[in-house]
Amino acid sequence: MSNFTVVLKRELASYFATPLAYVFIVIFLMLTGVFTFFLGGFFENGQADLWAFFNFHPWLYLFLVPALSMRLWSEERKSGTIELLMTLPISLRDMVVGKFLAAWLFTGIALLLTFPLWMTVNYLGEPDNGAIMAGYLGSWMMSGAFLAIGSCISAATKNQVIAFILTAVVCFLFVMSGFNLVQEWFTGWALDWVVDAIAALSFLTHFNAIAKGVLDLRDVLYFMVIIIGWLVATAIVLDMKKAD
């Protein structure tokens, strides 16, 4: 067992040592229910799929994931444990990846706990379970991207509230950049490839494709690149301002 698993284990256990994990999971499940049945019109659609469920995930993550990621590093800074952690023989990479994976696994657990929905839709009809699998995978990949952004911003401040707000704003930009509204604002004066690049950066564009059941390698790759990129940035931020 390498040090990265030791960090991961400690971190994951710490979620469940406080009410955080339970509050998060309960709220997550309640909100997914509300969105799916009331806003998404799960029954009214009359279709045996979970589109109504997945459709709202970007918006749900927008404020739930920053609440999870804000403590990743801010708390270590605030309590001074960062000094302890960073003088232990753990490489920076192991720390960053271990902490991130703990948070990512945790969102995975929360996501898996929505299985009654999957059972419901299978009871009511004959859904394309492959597409649902893809939807879950896409949603989980997207939550990882949100978390990686949150990890980097959390590394930069010891104030968890600031980490929360900044993460929500940055994630919002990543979600919104795929919207027509934003696109129209850029078209006309920005170069075409810039407009395309902004659209291509959006979480929505890539998530919608996966959530519809089209598991394109490029979309998966996109989320992986986002995650790795922001984790590298986390390590750089930590290395630059360890002591403040």
Partner: protein, 310 residues
Amino acid sequence: MITVDNLTKRFGPFTAVDGLSFTVKPGEVLGFLGPNGAGKSTTMKMITGFLAPTSGQVTVYGHNTLDDSLNARKIMGYLPEGAPSYGDMTPLKFLRFIGEVRGFRGAELTQRVQSVVDALQLESVLNQTIETLSKGFKRRVGLAQAIIHDPKVLVLDEPTDGLDPNQKHEVRKLIQNLSKDKIVIVSTHILEEVSAVCTRAMIIAGGKLLVDDTPQALEARSRFHGAIQLVLTHAEGALEQLQALEGVKSVELSESGLSLTVFPEVGASLFLPINDLLQKNNWEVHEFHVEKGKLDDVFRAITHGGSVNE
């Protein structure tokens, strides 16, 4: 062996540590002394590799704390200032976590944890979350964490801060009992601690090394070193006679007028001559003791830039 070479740390325009150079050999217990903000903690943070120096370098048994940081960290145990630890963990879980990071598994891990739990008497609080513990217990958990892997180098930033006198005594004993081939670096404001545990003392102020000596030699710098304190009754003319003795530099009467302090010339020993004088005159002696020197005095004089003999 630790080599600190021209170590400097600046935070913006502020220079916290200014060109420190020294080496520490195995078996030495080095005490860092200095007023708050002197650069003690910053120096320790650079030795443990937490902070990167602005210039200069630190090597710990040949491992540079910047390029070869991981190997340097492996052989060091560190208690950061304020003994930070994860508040939502219990001491048992916390120590097992540190033990695992230090590479212990299975039975060895359990045995290592048990040995530090015994050494620091943590048995009674093992399953309570750390945030609910008293300051003294928190500090001891921090110490346990630092020594769990029996490190070659131990860096302790104010290890006895917040402990009661009994606990202070325990911690000092612990430091003294650490095997003799270790390097221990301790910072403290408590001067008696330096005489109690350190084999070497360094006084730092304004980021600069002012004094590097043994605690005994530091005490000898005090004007009280070798001075004799007397409480006499029915001693007419004692002040004059004492002043007339050879080797006496000055005699001071305490404010209450009851006790006398006789200061020697540099290098003179006053014990015998004063003893003779007392017997010859048949004065009643209530108190007679030889001062070793007051570290407080030396500390204040050195860190304020004044001379020790003022």
